[in-house]
Protein backbone atom coordinates (compact mmCIF):
# COMPACT_ATOMS: atom_id res chain seq x y z
CA UNK A 1 0.00 0.00 0.00
CA UNK A 2 1.43 3.35 -1.00
CA UNK A 3 0.47 6.25 1.18
CA UNK A 4 0.98 9.95 0.61
CA UNK A 5 0.89 12.10 3.74
CA UNK A 6 0.72 15.87 3.30
CA UNK A 7 2.50 17.84 6.00
CA UNK A 8 2.95 21.50 6.77
CA UNK A 9 5.30 23.63 8.83
CA UNK A 10 3.51 25.87 11.30
CA UNK A 11 4.36 28.08 14.28
CA UNK A 12 4.28 26.27 17.60
CA UNK A 13 0.86 26.70 19.21
CA UNK A 14 2.25 28.73 22.09
CA UNK A 15 3.74 31.35 19.73
CA UNK A 16 2.96 34.95 20.48
CA UNK A 17 1.82 36.42 17.22
CA UNK A 18 3.08 39.81 16.03
CA UNK A 19 2.28 41.30 12.67
CA UNK A 20 5.23 41.57 10.29
CA UNK A 21 6.43 44.62 8.40
CA UNK A 22 4.34 43.82 5.32
CA UNK A 23 1.16 44.10 7.39
CA UNK A 24 -0.17 40.83 6.07
CA UNK A 25 1.86 38.06 7.63
CA UNK A 26 3.43 37.38 11.00
CA UNK A 27 6.83 38.49 12.18
CA UNK A 28 9.01 35.36 12.12
CA UNK A 29 11.55 36.61 14.64
CA UNK A 30 11.89 34.14 17.47
CA UNK A 31 9.01 32.00 16.24
CA UNK A 32 9.55 28.28 16.70
CA UNK A 33 8.23 26.20 13.82
CA UNK A 34 6.98 22.64 14.14
CA UNK A 35 5.36 19.87 12.14
CA UNK A 36 1.64 20.67 12.18
CA UNK A 37 0.27 18.63 15.13
CA UNK A 38 -2.64 17.19 13.11
CA UNK A 39 -0.19 16.03 10.45
CA UNK A 40 1.55 13.91 13.09
CA UNK A 41 -1.70 11.96 13.45
CA UNK A 42 -1.91 11.67 9.66
CA UNK A 43 1.64 10.40 9.42
CA UNK A 44 1.18 7.94 12.28
CA UNK A 45 -1.96 6.59 10.60
CA UNK A 46 -0.05 6.18 7.32
CA UNK A 47 2.83 4.40 9.04
CA UNK A 48 0.44 1.99 10.75
CA UNK A 49 -1.20 1.21 7.40
CA UNK A 50 2.08 0.27 5.74
CA UNK A 51 3.20 -1.71 8.79
CA UNK A 52 0.06 -3.79 8.37
CA UNK A 53 -0.17 -3.96 4.59
CA UNK A 54 3.36 -3.38 3.29
CA UNK A 55 4.28 -0.51 0.99
CA UNK A 56 5.66 2.84 1.98
CA UNK A 57 4.78 6.31 3.12
CA UNK A 58 5.82 9.36 1.11
CA UNK A 59 5.46 12.77 2.73
CA UNK A 60 4.94 15.93 0.79
CA UNK A 61 5.02 19.60 1.66
CA UNK A 62 4.69 22.83 -0.27
CA UNK A 63 6.79 25.65 1.08
CA UNK A 64 10.07 27.49 1.41
CA UNK A 65 13.54 25.91 1.78
CA UNK A 66 13.24 25.95 5.57
CA UNK A 67 10.42 23.38 5.40
CA UNK A 68 13.02 20.68 4.92
CA UNK A 69 13.15 20.34 8.73
CA UNK A 70 9.63 18.94 8.98
CA UNK A 71 10.35 16.58 6.10
CA UNK A 72 13.37 15.25 8.05
CA UNK A 73 11.18 14.87 11.13
CA UNK A 74 8.65 12.94 9.05
CA UNK A 75 11.36 10.73 7.59
CA UNK A 76 12.63 10.10 11.11
CA UNK A 77 9.15 9.03 12.18
CA UNK A 78 9.24 6.39 9.45
CA UNK A 79 8.31 7.84 6.07
CA UNK A 80 10.56 6.46 3.30
CA UNK A 81 10.54 9.35 0.84
CA UNK A 82 9.75 13.02 0.78
CA UNK A 83 8.68 15.44 -1.91
CA UNK A 84 9.47 19.10 -1.32
CA UNK A 85 7.57 21.42 -3.62
CA UNK A 86 9.51 24.63 -3.25
CA UNK A 87 8.00 28.05 -3.14
CA UNK A 88 9.40 30.96 -1.17
CA UNK A 89 6.13 32.79 -1.64
CA UNK A 90 3.12 31.78 0.48
CA UNK A 91 0.66 30.17 -1.90
CA UNK A 92 -3.10 30.16 -1.47
CA UNK A 93 -4.93 26.92 -0.68
CA UNK A 94 -5.91 26.36 -4.28
CA UNK A 95 -2.30 26.55 -5.51
CA UNK A 96 -1.08 24.28 -2.72
CA UNK A 97 -3.74 21.71 -3.56
CA UNK A 98 -2.95 21.99 -7.28
CA UNK A 99 0.72 21.33 -6.61
CA UNK A 100 0.05 18.35 -4.37
CA UNK A 101 -2.46 16.99 -6.88
CA UNK A 102 0.30 17.02 -9.53
CA UNK A 103 2.54 14.96 -7.23
CA UNK A 104 -0.31 12.56 -6.55
CA UNK A 105 -1.01 12.15 -10.25
CA UNK A 106 2.58 11.17 -10.97
CA UNK A 107 2.42 8.17 -8.62
CA UNK A 108 -0.28 5.71 -7.71
CA UNK A 109 -1.07 6.35 -4.10
CA UNK A 110 -3.73 4.15 -2.57
CA UNK A 111 -4.54 6.66 0.08
CA UNK A 112 -3.67 10.28 0.76
CA UNK A 113 -3.83 11.31 4.41
CA UNK A 114 -3.76 14.82 5.84
CA UNK A 115 -4.32 16.50 9.19
CA UNK A 116 -7.80 17.94 9.63
CA UNK A 117 -6.41 21.48 9.44
CA UNK A 118 -3.08 23.23 9.56
CA UNK A 119 -2.92 25.34 12.67
CA UNK A 120 -1.61 28.46 10.92
CA UNK A 121 -4.38 29.38 8.50
CA UNK A 122 -6.93 26.88 9.83
CA UNK A 123 -8.48 26.64 6.40
CA UNK A 124 -9.83 23.06 6.36
CA UNK A 125 -9.61 23.02 2.55
CA UNK A 126 -6.93 20.63 1.40
CA UNK A 127 -8.71 17.28 1.79
CA UNK A 128 -11.77 18.19 -0.27
CA UNK A 129 -9.80 20.17 -2.85
CA UNK A 130 -7.49 17.21 -3.44
CA UNK A 131 -10.47 14.87 -3.61
CA UNK A 132 -12.07 17.05 -6.24
CA UNK A 133 -8.92 17.67 -8.29
CA UNK A 134 -8.04 13.97 -8.30
CA UNK A 135 -11.67 12.86 -8.73
CA UNK A 136 -11.39 10.71 -5.62
CA UNK A 137 -13.70 10.22 -2.67
CA UNK A 138 -12.69 12.22 0.39
CA UNK A 139 -13.70 12.20 4.05
CA UNK A 140 -12.66 14.85 6.56
CA UNK A 141 -12.24 14.93 10.36
CA UNK A 142 -11.85 11.17 10.59
CA UNK A 143 -11.55 9.94 14.16
CA UNK A 144 -11.40 6.22 13.41
CA UNK A 145 -10.14 4.51 10.26
CA UNK A 146 -10.10 0.87 9.13
CA UNK A 147 -8.81 -0.22 5.75
CA UNK A 148 -9.31 -3.80 4.59
CA UNK A 149 -8.30 -4.49 1.02
CA UNK A 150 -9.86 -1.57 -0.80
CA UNK A 151 -12.75 -1.18 1.65
CA UNK A 152 -12.47 1.86 3.91
CA UNK A 153 -14.68 2.25 6.95
CA UNK A 154 -14.49 4.70 9.79
CA UNK A 155 -16.00 7.44 11.87
CA UNK A 156 -15.97 11.13 11.27
CA UNK A 157 -16.70 13.83 13.84
CA UNK A 158 -19.76 15.99 13.25
CA UNK A 159 -21.56 18.44 15.54
CA UNK A 160 -23.18 16.46 18.30
CA UNK A 161 -21.99 13.03 17.25
CA UNK A 162 -20.20 10.86 14.74
CA UNK A 163 -20.97 9.68 11.24
CA UNK A 164 -20.02 6.15 10.32
CA UNK A 165 -18.84 6.06 6.72
CA UNK A 166 -17.80 3.62 4.09
CA UNK A 167 -15.78 4.27 0.95
CA UNK A 168 -13.16 2.60 -1.21
CA UNK A 169 -9.53 3.16 -2.16
CA UNK A 170 -8.05 5.22 -3.60
CA UNK A 171 -9.31 7.94 -1.27
CA UNK A 172 -8.29 11.15 0.47
CA UNK A 173 -8.73 11.27 4.25
CA UNK A 174 -8.14 14.01 6.83
CA UNK A 175 -7.71 12.92 10.41
CA UNK A 176 -8.72 14.26 13.78
CA UNK A 177 -6.84 14.30 17.07
CA UNK A 178 -7.39 11.09 19.01
CA UNK A 179 -7.25 8.74 16.03
CA UNK A 180 -3.91 7.43 17.33
CA UNK A 181 -0.91 8.30 19.51
CA UNK A 182 1.89 9.52 17.22
CA UNK A 183 5.29 7.90 17.83
CA UNK A 184 8.43 9.78 18.74
CA UNK A 185 11.37 9.30 16.40
CA UNK A 186 14.25 7.44 18.06
CA UNK A 187 17.91 8.31 17.54
CA UNK A 188 18.73 5.51 15.04
CA UNK A 189 15.76 6.57 12.91
CA UNK A 190 16.80 10.21 13.09
CA UNK A 191 20.25 9.15 11.82
CA UNK A 192 18.75 6.96 9.12
CA UNK A 193 16.44 9.75 8.00
CA UNK A 194 19.44 11.83 7.00
CA UNK A 195 20.12 9.57 4.03
CA UNK A 196 16.53 9.16 2.88
CA UNK A 197 15.74 10.88 -0.41
CA UNK A 198 14.03 14.26 -0.65
CA UNK A 199 12.77 15.00 -4.12
CA UNK A 200 12.81 18.78 -4.43
CA UNK A 201 11.03 20.47 -7.29
CA UNK A 202 9.81 23.99 -7.95
CA UNK A 203 6.13 24.74 -7.42
CA UNK A 204 4.13 25.06 -10.59
CA UNK A 205 2.70 28.52 -10.92
CA UNK A 206 -1.02 28.81 -10.79
CA UNK A 207 -3.31 31.78 -10.93
CA UNK A 208 -4.09 33.38 -7.58
CA UNK A 209 -7.58 32.45 -6.42
CA UNK A 210 -7.58 34.42 -3.19
CA UNK A 211 -5.29 37.02 -1.72
CA UNK A 212 -4.62 38.27 1.77
CA UNK A 213 -4.92 42.05 1.98
CA UNK A 214 -3.99 42.58 5.61
CA UNK A 215 -3.50 40.86 8.95
CA UNK A 216 -4.33 42.35 12.32
CA UNK A 217 -4.30 41.41 15.96
CA UNK A 218 -7.99 41.44 16.86
CA UNK A 219 -8.93 44.42 18.97
CA UNK A 220 -10.38 43.18 22.17
CA UNK A 221 -13.44 45.00 23.27
CA UNK A 222 -14.21 43.05 26.37
CA UNK A 223 -16.01 44.67 29.27
CA UNK A 224 -13.51 43.30 31.77
CA UNK A 225 -15.56 43.67 34.98
CA UNK A 226 -13.85 41.45 37.51
CA UNK A 227 -15.66 40.97 40.81
CA UNK A 228 -14.90 39.36 44.16
CA UNK A 229 -16.35 36.18 45.61
CA UNK A 230 -18.63 37.96 48.07
CA UNK A 231 -22.30 37.02 48.05
CA UNK A 232 -23.26 40.49 46.87
CA UNK A 233 -20.81 40.29 43.97
CA UNK A 234 -22.19 36.87 42.97
CA UNK A 235 -25.65 38.41 42.88
CA UNK A 236 -24.26 41.38 40.97
CA UNK A 237 -22.79 39.02 38.34
CA UNK A 238 -26.21 37.46 37.83
CA UNK A 239 -27.75 40.93 37.50
CA UNK A 240 -25.09 42.01 34.95
CA UNK A 241 -25.60 38.88 32.86
CA UNK A 242 -29.36 39.36 32.89
CA UNK A 243 -29.67 43.11 32.58
CA UNK A 244 -26.46 44.45 31.03
CA UNK A 245 -25.33 41.61 28.78
CA UNK A 246 -28.81 40.11 28.48
CA UNK A 247 -27.44 36.64 27.89
CA UNK A 248 -29.20 34.58 30.54
Amino acid sequence: MNVLVCVSRVPDTATRVEIGADGKSINNNGVKYILNPYDEYALEEGLRLVEKNGGEVTVCTVGADVCVDILRTSLAMGAEKAVHIKSEETLDSFSVAKNIAEVAKSANYDVIILGRQSIDFDSFQMVSMLGEMLELPSVSMVAKLDINGTLVTGERDIEGGKEIFETSLPAVISVQKGINEPRYPKLPQIMKAKSKPIDARPAIETEKYTSVLSMEIPAKQRVGKILTDSDSDINELVRLLREEAKVI
Binding site: T13, A14, T15, I19, I26, S93, F94, A97, I119, D122, F124, Q125, M126, V127, S128, E132, S138, V139, S140, M141, R156, D157, E159, G160, G161, K162, E163, I164, E166, T167, A171, K177, G178, Y209, T210, V212, L213, M215, E216, I217, P218, K220, R222, V223, G224, K225, I226, L227, T228, D229, D231, D233, I234, N235, L237, V238, L241, A245, V247, I248
Partner: protein, 266 residues
Protein backbone atom coordinates in the same frame (compact mmCIF):
# COMPACT_ATOMS: atom_id res chain seq x y z
CA UNK B 1 -34.76 36.09 -0.69
CA UNK B 2 -36.67 35.63 -3.90
CA UNK B 3 -36.17 32.08 -5.06
CA UNK B 4 -35.63 28.70 -3.48
CA UNK B 5 -34.42 25.79 -5.58
CA UNK B 6 -35.28 22.42 -4.13
CA UNK B 7 -33.35 19.36 -5.22
CA UNK B 8 -35.13 16.04 -4.81
CA UNK B 9 -32.86 13.22 -5.80
CA UNK B 10 -32.75 9.79 -4.22
CA UNK B 11 -28.97 9.76 -4.68
CA UNK B 12 -28.79 12.51 -2.08
CA UNK B 13 -30.55 10.53 0.64
CA UNK B 14 -27.14 9.61 2.06
CA UNK B 15 -24.75 12.52 2.58
CA UNK B 16 -21.89 12.75 0.10
CA UNK B 17 -19.82 15.92 -0.02
CA UNK B 18 -19.02 15.45 -3.65
CA UNK B 19 -22.64 14.87 -4.73
CA UNK B 20 -23.78 17.99 -2.86
CA UNK B 21 -20.90 20.08 -4.21
CA UNK B 22 -21.81 18.97 -7.70
CA UNK B 23 -25.51 19.80 -7.15
CA UNK B 24 -24.71 23.26 -5.79
CA UNK B 25 -22.38 23.92 -8.71
CA UNK B 26 -25.14 22.95 -11.14
CA UNK B 27 -27.59 25.36 -9.50
CA UNK B 28 -25.02 28.16 -9.37
CA UNK B 29 -24.27 27.70 -13.07
CA UNK B 30 -27.92 27.54 -14.09
CA UNK B 31 -28.86 30.58 -11.98
CA UNK B 32 -25.67 32.53 -12.77
CA UNK B 33 -24.91 32.85 -9.06
CA UNK B 34 -21.33 33.95 -8.56
CA UNK B 35 -21.41 34.18 -4.77
CA UNK B 36 -22.02 31.14 -2.59
CA UNK B 37 -22.19 30.94 1.19
CA UNK B 38 -21.79 27.80 3.27
CA UNK B 39 -21.87 27.32 7.03
CA UNK B 40 -18.39 26.65 8.43
CA UNK B 41 -19.47 23.41 10.09
CA UNK B 42 -18.52 19.79 9.48
CA UNK B 43 -20.59 19.76 6.29
CA UNK B 44 -19.90 23.18 4.81
CA UNK B 45 -16.17 22.87 5.42
CA UNK B 46 -16.20 19.60 3.50
CA UNK B 47 -18.45 20.65 0.61
CA UNK B 48 -17.26 24.22 -0.07
CA UNK B 49 -13.71 23.40 -1.28
CA UNK B 50 -15.09 20.86 -3.76
CA UNK B 51 -17.58 23.41 -5.07
CA UNK B 52 -14.74 25.92 -5.35
CA UNK B 53 -12.67 23.57 -7.50
CA UNK B 54 -15.67 22.78 -9.72
CA UNK B 55 -16.53 26.45 -10.25
CA UNK B 56 -12.92 27.68 -10.23
CA UNK B 57 -13.99 29.97 -7.41
CA UNK B 58 -11.85 31.76 -4.85
CA UNK B 59 -12.88 30.29 -1.49
CA UNK B 60 -12.33 31.76 1.97
CA UNK B 61 -13.19 29.54 4.90
CA UNK B 62 -14.47 30.16 8.42
CA UNK B 63 -15.23 33.86 7.97
CA UNK B 64 -16.29 35.97 10.95
CA UNK B 65 -17.03 39.15 9.03
CA UNK B 66 -17.79 40.34 5.51
CA UNK B 67 -17.42 43.89 4.22
CA UNK B 68 -18.80 44.95 0.90
CA UNK B 69 -16.34 47.29 -0.72
CA UNK B 70 -17.30 48.40 -4.21
CA UNK B 71 -17.61 45.18 -6.14
CA UNK B 72 -15.41 43.27 -3.72
CA UNK B 73 -16.28 41.25 -0.68
CA UNK B 74 -13.59 41.55 1.98
CA UNK B 75 -13.72 38.59 4.36
CA UNK B 76 -12.31 38.55 7.88
CA UNK B 77 -11.00 35.20 8.93
CA UNK B 78 -9.23 34.15 12.15
CA UNK B 79 -5.76 32.68 11.65
CA UNK B 80 -3.16 31.30 14.09
CA UNK B 81 -5.94 30.00 16.31
CA UNK B 82 -7.60 33.40 16.49
CA UNK B 83 -4.46 35.22 17.56
CA UNK B 84 -4.70 37.24 14.35
CA UNK B 85 -7.38 37.99 11.79
CA UNK B 86 -6.77 38.35 8.06
CA UNK B 87 -8.78 40.34 5.60
CA UNK B 88 -8.79 38.64 2.25
CA UNK B 89 -10.66 38.54 -1.00
CA UNK B 90 -11.39 36.24 -3.85
CA UNK B 91 -9.59 37.08 -7.08
CA UNK B 92 -12.08 35.10 -9.12
CA UNK B 93 -15.48 35.95 -10.54
CA UNK B 94 -16.95 33.11 -8.54
CA UNK B 95 -16.57 33.58 -4.80
CA UNK B 96 -17.33 31.14 -2.02
CA UNK B 97 -17.32 31.87 1.71
CA UNK B 98 -17.98 29.60 4.64
CA UNK B 99 -19.28 31.49 7.65
CA UNK B 100 -18.61 30.62 11.28
CA UNK B 101 -21.91 29.66 12.92
CA UNK B 102 -23.61 32.10 15.30
CA UNK B 103 -21.56 35.11 14.19
CA UNK B 104 -23.84 36.52 11.54
CA UNK B 105 -27.30 37.42 12.72
CA UNK B 106 -30.22 36.70 10.45
CA UNK B 107 -32.23 39.73 9.40
CA UNK B 108 -35.85 39.87 8.43
CA UNK B 109 -36.39 39.30 4.72
CA UNK B 110 -38.15 42.16 2.95
CA UNK B 111 -39.05 40.19 -0.13
CA UNK B 112 -42.75 39.93 -0.70
CA UNK B 113 -42.84 36.78 -2.72
CA UNK B 114 -40.62 33.76 -2.92
CA UNK B 115 -40.65 31.31 -5.80
CA UNK B 116 -40.04 27.70 -4.89
CA UNK B 117 -38.83 25.55 -7.76
CA UNK B 118 -37.79 21.96 -8.21
CA UNK B 119 -34.32 21.71 -9.65
CA UNK B 120 -33.13 18.55 -11.36
CA UNK B 121 -29.46 17.63 -11.01
CA UNK B 122 -27.24 15.00 -12.57
CA UNK B 123 -25.23 13.04 -10.08
CA UNK B 124 -22.60 10.69 -11.42
CA UNK B 125 -21.43 7.48 -9.78
CA UNK B 126 -18.04 8.93 -8.95
CA UNK B 127 -19.81 11.42 -6.66
CA UNK B 128 -21.40 8.62 -4.67
CA UNK B 129 -18.33 6.77 -3.49
CA UNK B 130 -18.72 7.80 0.14
CA UNK B 131 -21.70 6.36 1.97
CA UNK B 132 -22.87 7.21 5.44
CA UNK B 133 -23.88 3.91 6.99
CA UNK B 134 -24.68 5.07 10.49
CA UNK B 135 -24.85 7.93 12.90
CA UNK B 136 -24.06 7.98 16.57
CA UNK B 137 -25.52 10.97 18.36
CA UNK B 138 -24.30 12.08 21.73
CA UNK B 139 -27.69 11.14 23.17
CA UNK B 140 -29.74 13.59 25.13
CA UNK B 141 -26.92 16.08 25.42
CA UNK B 142 -26.64 19.46 23.85
CA UNK B 143 -23.38 19.68 21.92
CA UNK B 144 -20.96 22.50 22.76
CA UNK B 145 -20.61 23.48 19.12
CA UNK B 146 -24.36 23.88 18.71
CA UNK B 147 -25.31 25.48 22.00
CA UNK B 148 -25.79 29.21 22.41
CA UNK B 149 -24.74 28.93 26.06
CA UNK B 150 -21.71 26.96 27.17
CA UNK B 151 -20.25 26.28 30.61
CA UNK B 152 -16.80 24.68 30.56
CA UNK B 153 -14.77 23.17 33.35
CA UNK B 154 -11.00 22.92 33.70
CA UNK B 155 -8.38 21.16 35.73
CA UNK B 156 -9.29 23.18 38.82
CA UNK B 157 -12.33 20.92 39.22
CA UNK B 158 -9.90 18.36 40.64
CA UNK B 159 -11.76 15.28 39.41
CA UNK B 160 -14.64 13.98 37.29
CA UNK B 161 -16.80 13.57 40.39
CA UNK B 162 -16.94 17.35 40.78
CA UNK B 163 -18.26 18.07 37.31
CA UNK B 164 -21.79 18.24 38.70
CA UNK B 165 -20.81 21.83 39.57
CA UNK B 166 -20.36 22.60 35.86
CA UNK B 167 -23.42 20.56 34.86
CA UNK B 168 -25.68 22.23 37.41
CA UNK B 169 -24.71 25.72 36.26
CA UNK B 170 -25.13 24.68 32.61
CA UNK B 171 -28.57 23.31 33.43
CA UNK B 172 -29.59 26.48 35.22
CA UNK B 173 -28.98 28.56 32.09
CA UNK B 174 -29.98 25.86 29.58
CA UNK B 175 -26.46 25.47 28.22
CA UNK B 176 -24.08 22.73 27.14
CA UNK B 177 -21.05 21.45 29.03
CA UNK B 178 -17.55 21.96 27.64
CA UNK B 179 -14.10 21.12 28.92
CA UNK B 180 -10.46 22.10 28.65
CA UNK B 181 -7.96 19.72 27.13
CA UNK B 182 -6.37 19.08 30.51
CA UNK B 183 -9.65 17.60 31.67
CA UNK B 184 -10.22 15.58 28.50
CA UNK B 185 -6.66 14.21 28.47
CA UNK B 186 -7.11 13.18 32.09
CA UNK B 187 -10.13 11.16 30.97
CA UNK B 188 -12.59 13.11 33.11
CA UNK B 189 -14.69 14.19 30.14
CA UNK B 190 -15.20 12.90 26.57
CA UNK B 191 -13.23 14.44 23.70
CA UNK B 192 -16.46 15.67 22.12
CA UNK B 193 -16.67 18.28 24.88
CA UNK B 194 -13.19 19.71 24.36
CA UNK B 195 -13.10 23.35 23.42
CA UNK B 196 -9.99 24.78 21.80
CA UNK B 197 -7.51 24.43 19.04
CA UNK B 198 -7.60 20.63 19.04
CA UNK B 199 -11.22 20.49 20.09
CA UNK B 200 -14.27 22.39 19.02
CA UNK B 201 -14.58 26.02 18.07
CA UNK B 202 -17.56 27.64 19.71
CA UNK B 203 -19.02 31.11 19.56
CA UNK B 204 -22.02 31.04 21.88
CA UNK B 205 -23.79 34.09 23.28
CA UNK B 206 -22.30 33.28 26.66
CA UNK B 207 -19.26 31.17 27.51
CA UNK B 208 -18.53 30.54 31.18
CA UNK B 209 -15.05 29.19 31.99
CA UNK B 210 -14.78 27.55 35.41
CA UNK B 211 -11.29 26.88 36.76
CA UNK B 212 -9.76 27.15 33.30
CA UNK B 213 -6.48 29.04 33.11
CA UNK B 214 -7.02 30.38 29.58
CA UNK B 215 -4.11 28.86 27.63
CA UNK B 216 -3.85 30.21 24.06
CA UNK B 217 -4.96 26.86 22.69
CA UNK B 218 -8.13 27.03 24.78
CA UNK B 219 -8.78 30.65 23.80
CA UNK B 220 -8.51 29.59 20.15
CA UNK B 221 -11.75 27.70 20.52
CA UNK B 222 -13.85 30.24 22.38
CA UNK B 223 -12.50 33.76 21.94
CA UNK B 224 -15.18 34.69 19.42
CA UNK B 225 -17.92 34.04 22.01
CA UNK B 226 -20.16 37.08 22.50
CA UNK B 227 -19.85 37.28 26.29
CA UNK B 228 -17.11 35.52 28.23
CA UNK B 229 -17.35 34.91 31.96
CA UNK B 230 -14.45 33.52 33.98
CA UNK B 231 -14.37 32.17 37.50
CA UNK B 232 -10.90 31.37 38.75
CA UNK B 233 -9.13 31.61 42.08
CA UNK B 234 -6.00 33.03 40.48
CA UNK B 235 -6.54 36.74 39.78
CA UNK B 236 -3.67 36.66 37.27
CA UNK B 237 -5.10 33.77 35.22
CA UNK B 238 -4.92 34.72 31.51
CA UNK B 239 -8.60 33.88 31.07
CA UNK B 240 -9.48 37.14 32.84
CA UNK B 241 -7.77 39.09 30.04
CA UNK B 242 -10.43 37.95 27.58
CA UNK B 243 -13.34 37.99 30.01
CA UNK B 244 -16.24 40.43 29.98
CA UNK B 245 -17.15 39.46 33.53
CA UNK B 246 -15.25 37.52 36.10
CA UNK B 247 -15.13 36.45 39.70
CA UNK B 248 -11.87 35.84 41.49
CA UNK B 249 -12.77 33.01 43.80
CA UNK B 250 -12.97 29.31 44.52
CA UNK B 251 -15.37 27.56 42.16
CA UNK B 252 -16.40 25.11 44.89
CA UNK B 253 -17.66 28.05 46.91
CA UNK B 254 -18.81 30.53 44.22
CA UNK B 255 -20.45 28.37 41.58
CA UNK B 256 -23.09 26.60 43.73
CA UNK B 257 -24.16 30.03 45.02
CA UNK B 258 -24.27 31.41 41.49
CA UNK B 259 -26.36 28.46 40.29
CA UNK B 260 -28.73 28.80 43.24
CA UNK B 261 -29.20 32.50 42.55
CA UNK B 262 -29.96 31.88 38.86
CA UNK B 263 -32.37 29.06 39.73
CA UNK B 264 -34.15 31.29 42.27
CA UNK B 265 -34.87 33.85 39.57
CA UNK B 266 -36.25 31.56 36.90
Amino acid sequence: MSKVNVIKNSNLSSYSSSAIASSVAQIATAESCSIIFYPANSYGLEIAPRTAVKLEAGYISDCIGLDYNGGDIIASKPVYAGKAVTKSKSERTNKIFSLRPNIFTASESNSTSVTICDFAVNISDKDLKVKITGLSKNEGKLDVSEADKVVSGGRGLKGPENFYIVEDLAKSIGGAVGASRAVVDAGWRPHGEQVGQTGKTVSPNIYIALAISGAVQHLAGMSSSKIIVAINKDKDAPIFKVADYGIVGDIFDVVPKLTAKINSLS
